[in-house]
């Protein structure tokens, strides 16, 4: 077997193990509460509001998906490595012919798979609800593509956050890493305003802000919930660009995490 092939086998084994652990740890139980929440809220609100049932349902559902996926990404992401160190399982793994970057990639892929399945399930539940609602509204509104695209963007955002969580947890405690990652998520959602401030500033502070905006993740373009709620089409070009952005930014965070992790002392 080639080196690359052997690497892939190991990364896949770690990813599979991580996914299996998440499934057995009842991570997917959140789906039940998610569905109950969205269905319940939709029923209640459709009673009291007029003409915006669909918008409301999509807004509510996508917001819930966003919050769920962000929280899962951050909370599970910071524990990926810390838990293995704490339980010394990592020692038994690294005593085998497993490179540290392979371990990290495997863990990332495992959580990515978990989040993908989780988000897909939530999206299907939401789409079913929207489809039943759509019978009351004109056929023009029936397009489900914006909702699917919005969900895809939310998944990309969660994957970026997993990479960031891995980066922070590669050199700090899980609690601090969770706080850092959530802070970055909040700042990342406001990068538009940072952009604005950068344009208004002069001289050195301007370059500082421009640099900051470059290093921080720009997550605002991953939130197209409002557009999806109004049934507006999301340009194909944006789908491609966002995918590429997520790959580049997530790759950079993951690479930095691997670099730091490869030098980390397993005390």
């Amino acid at each position: 077997m080639t080196d690359v092939g052997a690497s892939v086998v190991r990364v896949a084994a770690i990813a599979r193990q991580n996914f299996r652990e998440a499934v057995r740890d009842r991570v997917f139980y959140n789906l039940i509460s998610f569905t109950a929440l969205v269905v319940g809220a939709a029923l209640v609100f459709s009673q009291i509001s007029i003409a915006i049932e669909r918008e409301l349902l999509v807004n509510l559902g996508l917001t819930a998906i966003s919050l769920t996926s962000v929280l899962l990404a951050v909370l599970l992401g910071v524990g990926l490595v810390a838990k293995e160190i704490e339980r010394r399982t990592l020692y038994a793994v690294l005593a085998r012919p497993v490179a540290r970057w392979e371990f990290l990639s495997g863990k990332f892929c495992g959580l990515a798979a978990t989040l993908t399945v989780n988000t897909a399930c939530m999206a299907v539940a939401l789409l079913l609800l929207v489809a039943t609602q759509a019978t009351h509204t004109p056929a023009a509104n029936l397009s489900l593509w914006p909702v699917i695209t919005a969900t895809y963007f939310l998944l990309l955002q969660a994957l970026i956050l997993v990479a960031v969580a891995l980066l922070f947890s590669s050199f700090s405690s899980p609690l601090l890493a969770a706080i850092f990652t959530l802070a970055l998520f909040l700042i990342g959602s406001f990068t538009q305003d940072l952009h604005g401030m950068a344009q208004l500033a002069n001289g050195a502070s301007r370059w500082l802000l421009v640099g900051l905006v470059g290093v921080l993740p720009d997550l605002s373009s991953f939130n197209v919930i409002a557009a999806a709620a109004h049934g507006r089409a999301i340009p194909l070009r944006l789908i491609g660009l966002n995918t590429l952005y997520a790959a580049l930014y997530g790759g950079a965070a993951l690479g930095a995490a691997a670099l730091i992790f490869s030098r980390r002392e397993m005390k």
Partner: protein, 248 residues
């Protein structure tokens, strides 16, 4: 071990390139968004709901909304046919989140009051904004000064302008020339000398370099007008207003 170091260096370079690539994508992403940028806000939450969502950090939210306001204005100013529908609501939100946010009153009233394309051409809304600001900040004589400015130049209501300058002059710590301004309004409502005086004060008082430059340009314009008005019979106020429009 040099091989290891080399691999590490390559790693750092690749990470840097990824980040750079991601950064270079941002303008393209910005351009292809369905909901434009933040300058194209389709709906604006009420100040109350923003305040609630900001969990007590309304000062920061006010700053963010003020920044958005500046951007919103900046993208429309000097653009023919631009509309400023959201300017007043944005300013309202910012100042309700932080009623002590002076720049929002001082600059905001100018943005609102100036005629298109230099501003929104809505002096009534500027007056409303400043009056709310004065109610919230009775110790700030400068807000009275701005109010008088709007009444004089944009609304040509010299009586109201006089009243504003007079009220402002009574605020403790107010500049002495506020009294002079009030007196001038009574005697020579619309003459060029008064306009020149006001702009001269604006030039002296301003700390922002852009405002100073603007005031200076207007002053030069006015000096030019004064020279012409001795030979022509047109209304000095109209001339001053025209000067204000053409400059910049």
């Amino acid at each position: 071990m040099t091989q290891k170091r080399m691999r590490r260096a390559i790693g750092v370079i690749v990470i840097g390139l990824c980040l750079l690539g991601a950064g270079l994508l941002l303008p393209a992403i910005e351009a292809s968004r369905p909901v434009g940028g933040s300058d194209d806000i389709t709906y604006l939450p009420t100040a109350g709901s923003v305040k609630m969502m900001s969990l007590g950090y309304s000062g920061l939210m006010a700053d963010i909304y003020w920044t958005r306001t500046v951007q919103y204005f900046g993208r429309r100013v000097n653009v023919a046919g631009a509309r400023f529908e959201l300017l007043a609501p944005l300013l309202d939100t910012a100042t309700q989140l932080d009623p002590q946010l002076m720049p929002a009153y001082e600059f905001g009233s100018v943005f609102l009051a100036e005629d298109p394309p230099r501003g929104a051409g809505r002096p009534e809304e500027a007056v409303a904004l400043l009056e709310r600001g004065i109610a919230a900040n009775p110790a700030e004589w400068r807000l009275w000064y701005e109010l008088g400015f709007v009444h004089y130049f944009n609304r040509h209501d010299y009586a109201a302008a006089r009243q504003a300058f007079e009220s402002g002059s009574k605020v403790p710590g107010a500049h002495p020339w506020m009294k002079q301004l009030a007196a001038r309004m009574a005697e020579h409502g619309g003459d060029l000398v008064t306009a020149r005086f006001l702009w001269a004060k604006a030039y002296e008082e301003a700390t922002d370099p852009r405002i100073r430059a603007n005031a200076l340009a207007l002053l030069r314009e006015l000096d030019h007008e004064t020279a012409i008005s001795t030979t022509s019979a047109s209304s000095p106020v109209a001339e001053a207003a025209k000067a204000a429009k053409t400059v910049q």
